[in-house]
């Protein structure tokens, strides 16, 4: 069964950081990348902050593989579409029959692509080095309602079982002669005998779950103690404040027009 998260276990110092610190780092990277309208700025963030952090945590292979899987097609299409059709135009670099490649469009594509790399990369870094359970525990310790933490954790456990059931239903219906390889209409029609047993089966468990949860005082608002303790340090606390400051500075610089 395929694992359901990006998390890659490791013993690097980055893995040991408090998840909230890593989350703050991701958010700060994204905010500053999008706030400052300087073309090379996302490159600086990538080279000076994100890549060293990825290398230090030893997840670079999966990082690169996953990033190229998500972003290469998007970026390729972005350059093609915006290079050809960006409104405004600007200097014409190349003419191919009725189509022409414009400098402004390519510049816009480059700007957007670099920001997308920072946006996706910083969150992928967080997900590769942080177990979702740890992230939830750390956030609950900072006031996230336990109900949300339950929903996220429970979903992560349900999905693999669910996928298996979907596969089972698909095979069972095929064995009964369901065809999923012909025209569009028959494919849509084929979805009904696949989806309805899957959903009705899943919903029949909800009743039992909620009774079990109520029996264990799930809705109680009393303050709970946590079984796992997430490490934190003064240095990280300081780093988080500095990152907040950096993000706010970037926004202030742009809105006041100092950087343009």
């Amino acid at each position: 069964m395929a694992t359901l998260d990006f998390y890659q276990a490791g013993r690097s110092r980055v893995h040991g950081w408090n998840p909230v610190t890593k989350l703050s780092l991701s958010l700060t990277l994204v905010v500053t990348a999008f706030a400052l309208p300087v073309l090379w700025w996302p490159v600086a963030l990538l080279v000076l902050v994100l890549l060293p952090a990825v290398l230090a945590s030893g997840v670079q292979r999966r990082f690169l593989a996953t990033m190229s899987r998500f972003l290469l097609p998007v970026i390729l299409l972005l350059f093609v579409i915006q290079g050809l059709f960006y409104p405004g135009g600007g200097q014409v670099l190349l003419t191919l029959g009725p189509l022409s490649v414009h400098a402004d469009g390519l510049l816009f594509a480059a700007r957007t692509a670099l920001r997308l790399v920072v946006l996706t990369g910083s969150f992928l870094f967080l997900l590769l080095t942080t177990h979702p359970g740890d992230l939830m525990t750390a956030l609950v310790a900072r006031g996230l309602p336990p109900k949300i933490s339950y929903v996220v954790s429970a979903t992560l456990q349900i999905i693999p079982a669910f996928r298996q059931r979907a596969q089972g239903i698909l095979q069972a219906q095929r064995a009964r002669g369901l065809r999923t390889d012909t025209g569009l209409v028959s494919r849509v029609r084929a979805l009904v005998p696949l989806i309805s047993p899957l959903i009705l089966g899943a919903l029949s468990e909800v009743d039992e779950r909620s009774i079990a949860m109520e029996a264990r005082a799930f809705g109680s608002t009393a303050r709970r103690t946590s079984y796992t303790v997430i490490p934190d340090s003064t240095a990280q606390r300081l780093a988080r404040w500095l990152m907040l400051l950096a993000a706010l500075t970037a926004i202030a610089l742009t809105t006041t027009g100092v950087v343009s």
């Binding site: 097609p73 409104p87 700007r111 997308l116 997900l127 979903t155 569009l184 979805l191 909620s210």
Partner: protein, 252 residues
């Protein structure tokens, strides 16, 4: 803050973000993308926090199952190669059974979990999913899920709103490109006819979203019909707003 205040504040932030982006049309300075990301994120977080505060235990038990339905059926639809997403059946289900706030929270959390597990580039679209859950709940409140054609019509309307809400993200954050060559080409064609980027992504959304949501709402209607009445009546929202009026009348 009281839960309803959080939900109202979140909704206001989302609306203000959209109005700002459409009226101001920020250029490529990047502020447009930042406002789209930050405004929609803040709004979604407020809505999630406010909505989960009020969820009953049976609704909390339903939400993970609903999210799993979204993700697995969405991937199943992708695997069968039909041009529909079908990744919001669970959101509509919760919206109809447990109300607009619960639907909104389910929607936003679906995107968060999809981002955590399968594809982080989905996360900025959390607000669209929240909007689908809200509108499904509101439609159920006015009785749209008592008749199949009203359910389909509310799906159509929801799809139109989805296209409007998600277009600033597609335009300002992703520059009109997606992983699908087809939809990206459509955006390019609209731009070639002289539309702005925002207008082009909106038009592209209007091609795919209304159809998808009409099918989704209709399928959800059929699923709800097949569920035992005892299950449907477990939810206080469905009871008090007589979401399935005919059946209730028969039982009473």
């Amino acid at each position: 803050m009281r839960p309803s205040v959080k939900i109202a504040a979140g909704t206001l932030v989302v609306l203000a973000t959209y109005v700002y982006l459409v009226l101001e049309r920020p250029g490529v300075s990047g502020i447009g993308a930042l406002v789209a990301l930050a405004g929609y994120l803040l709004g979604s977080v407020l809505i999630i926090l406010g909505a989960t505060d009020r969820l009953s235990t049976s609704a909390v038990a339903l939400v993970p199952v609903a999210i799993a339905i979204n993700i697995v059926v969405g991937q199943l639809a992708l695997a069968t190669g039909i041009p529909l997403y079908l990744d919001s059946i669970g959101i509509v289900l919760v919206g109809v059974l447990a109300g607009p706030a619960a639907g909104a929270a389910t929607g936003a959390l679906t995107c968060v979990i999809w981002g955590l597990t399968i594809n982080p580039t989905i996360m900025p679209f959390a607000v669209t999913a929240a909007e689908i859950g809200t509108l499904a709940g509101l439609a159920a409140m006015v009785g749209a899920f008592r008749r199949p054609w009203w359910a389909a019509l509310s799906g159509l309307l929801t799809g139109i709103v989805s296209a409007l809400v998600s277009s600033p993200i597609s335009a300002f954050v992703y520059g009109g490109a997606t992983t699908s060559a087809g939809t990206t080409a459509v955006v390019g064609v609209f731009q070639a006819y002289g539309n702005t980027l925002l207008a082009s992504t909106t038009l592209q959304g209007l091609i795919s979203d209304p159809l998808d949501k009409t099918v989704t709402f209709s399928l959800t209607f059929l699923i709800l019909l097949a569920l035992p009445a005892r299950f449907r009546q477990r939810f206080a929202f469905a009871r008090s707003h007589r979401v399935f009026a005919r059946r209730v009348a028969l039982e009473a």
